[in-house]
Symmetry: C2
Subunit: 397 residues, 2 copies
């Protein structure tokens, strides 16, 4: 892309929030694009995002071999290191000071809505200080909960893991019948949990029940749902989002810990799975039932080799696009994806204001969830299936 | 293989115990081999193993299309359905009665040591009754704990899942540093947990500590180990077998439930992970540490697409070999694998008496575990790496 704006200087790129299987594609996409731009005079990778910038802890990405970068691109989890830090005013000022000191003119931050907000605050700070500067947010999150964009890089690969896991686990549950609860990541948005529906290939395949944070989780209704499913199928596979909450908004089960964003810790604990398993046992009190619970945990977001091809390609594309946009326009923004067609699938990148993505997250549309609030709809399948890509066919006798 | 013995009649084949990613390869290997044998007059698949035989619940496998069978072969989990039933005398007599009634002369049972014992009891019963009959045990178990054989079909694919999971999770833990506990299946044998060591590709890669059921788990030593690892690496990834126990043989944590074999339920619960995470927090009391625990659970044994090539090939081979042996010799036995070479890897099947495999399981050799009891040795890596096959290379900056 031809350079059109006058902003000349170094660029900093960082990764933030929970890793994904393809976040390094975005990193490498941006770095390789930046190497083609004459007004980017150096490429600094910030170790652990904002935390590294404040300490001037950079890796020089200007000269690393393409071969090495391509290997990084196919490696899950943030190669630069990530961070869970929502910087305050003082921290943003420190970041800005480091940028000025090092003649950094471009900042690319790969992350979710919190990262978009960080980018937004720093962009505003530069404007106030009349410092010529361009910051672009590059989207990633397995939660798929960013506004504006059709979907988020990182989601489809995690969704592929979830779909495959349920395919295998449903065969397992068929072989040794019982009731199986699988807890899937997703604090406020059920996208990833809903991807479990892609595991179904024939009548009777699980998951038979899907519980999402977008709907109130009612304990008695849950018990009845499971009893109904067992009556119908002789077994039951359940997908439950880690974020399911009761009518007062209280999580069904947590470890009681809070993360650095002040959010209650949901992942990295088997608490919810064990709670749901206990509820199921209670629903069948006096009967002999085999109940098991698994919490998919961190494997969902960083499992090597389980990658959606479209996801990898788009994650690369948003990194590349961010650099092209920044160097050609000098304008801040967040890269988003527009779906052009589902069959065959095609998409394009575009830029949306940082403020439109920052802070608030989104959740699943009502039309994706069934009326009873315990399953998804065909509209959801139509949305998600092309992103996840073809899945292996399960044989049966 | 030319038919050499005079035993003519139907065969029954069943699957038993925990499913694996390749147990259907053994089924299909046996079925396709049986179709070539003129003294096998019909092929009956028992639904849910012994339980199905007692109810005469069979699927006719004599005529299903090869295409359908090949799809079944690559599908994880027992396609015939499995069972966890250690039959008593009365149940074995019922099975034997069904065999006689249906002119069943061959019985192939795919499973672990409990299944070998069932096969053994029925073989003895037939001998006592002077009923011409041949029963062959086909080995499978992700636990890798069968005696005689070099390793068990099913193990290497599960080991591959564990190795990949740790590779990704170690990158994840590097990106967001902290202490991570991963609980791996394996009640009495640490083979699968020990496979986590294959995730290491460079100095500092996790897992940094590996705890196996073959060694006493000492809580205070564990806390010290984790503190030492964190001092050295700034983080710590821990592999712990679900079966780790204290010096009195009590499991470190269980859900308190028992399975139908009278064993304490270890899988299908996050209890041990949460217990170990609490111990780690205790080890760093007063300090701010990020501690997470995942329990890999059932995903390890039935994840579609995560299969060791060698495992798939050998699982097919043991099924094929069982039928060849039975029809040519008419003698009972259990199929085992002999490793001929590790580099390049090659192996062959052979027959060992049912009694040599039945009942008792085996565990990891002492030479595979380090002196401190918190890691594996190079001898272990040399043993397991060829089985799991090549793993993707992780990129790093």
């Amino acid at each position: 892309m031809a350079t059109q704006n006058k902003l000349v200087g170094k660029m900093v790129i960082g990764q933030s929030g929970g890793p994904t299987a393809v976040i390094n594609q975005s990193l490498v996409g941006a770095v390789l694009a930046a190497r083609q731009q004459i007004n980017i005079t150096g490429i600094l990778g910030a170790r652990h995002g904002i935390a590294g910038i404040m300490k001037e802890d950079f890796i020089d990405l200007t000269t690393q071999s393409v071969e090495q970068l391509e290997l990084v691109a196919t490696t899950p989890a943030a190669a630069l290191g990530s961070v869970r830090l929502k910087p305050g005013r003082a921290e943003c000022e420190k970041v800005f000071e480091v940028f000025r000191k090092n003649d950094v003119r471009y900042f690319f931050y790969i992350g979710g809505n919190d990262s978009a907000e960080t980018a937004h605050i720093i962009a505003e700070m530069a404007k106030e200080a009349n410092y010529d500067f361009c910051t672009v947010h590059i989207p990633k999150t397995i939660d798929n909960d960013l506004k504006v964009t059709d979907h988020c890089p990182g989601f489809a690969s995690a969704a592929r893991f979830v779909a495959l896991a349920f395919m295998g686990d449903d065969r397992d549950n068929r072989a040794l019948e019982g009731i199986k609860v699988n807890v899937v990541m997703g604090r406020s948005a059920g996208f990833l949990t809903a991807a479990s529906a892609l595991a179904r290939q024939a009548e009777g395949d699980g998951p038979h029940l899907i519980y999402l944070p977008e709907r109130v989780f009612d304990v008695e209704q849950f018990k009845q749902d499971v009893r109904d499913a067992v009556a119908k199928y002789g077994r039951c596979v359940i997908a439950a989002s880690e974020g399911i909450s009761d009518k007062d908004g209280n999580p069904i089960s947590t470890s009681g810990e809070k993360d650095s964003h002040g959010n209650v810790q949901l992942s990295g604990s088997g608490a919810l799975g064990d709670t749901l398993a206990a509820l199921v046992k209670d629903a069948f009190a006096g009967q002999k039932v085999r109940v098991r619970a698994d919490t998919f945990g961190y494997l969902q977001r960083s499992f090597p080799t389980i990658v959606s091809e479209i996801d990898a390609k788009e994650a690369r594309a948003v990194g590349d696009y961010a650099v092209g946009h920044a160097t050609s326009t000098g304008q801040p923004g967040s890269v988003a994806i527009r779906r052009l067609s589902s069959t065959p699938y095609s998409s394009e990148c575009f830029i949306t204001p940082l403020s439109s993505v920052a802070r608030e997250a989104t959740e699943m549309k009502g039309e994706y969830i069934n009326e009873a609030g315990n399953d998804v709809t065909q509209a959801w399948i139509d949305y998600v299936a092309p992103l996840v890509g073809e899945l292996p066919k399960m044989g049966r006798l």
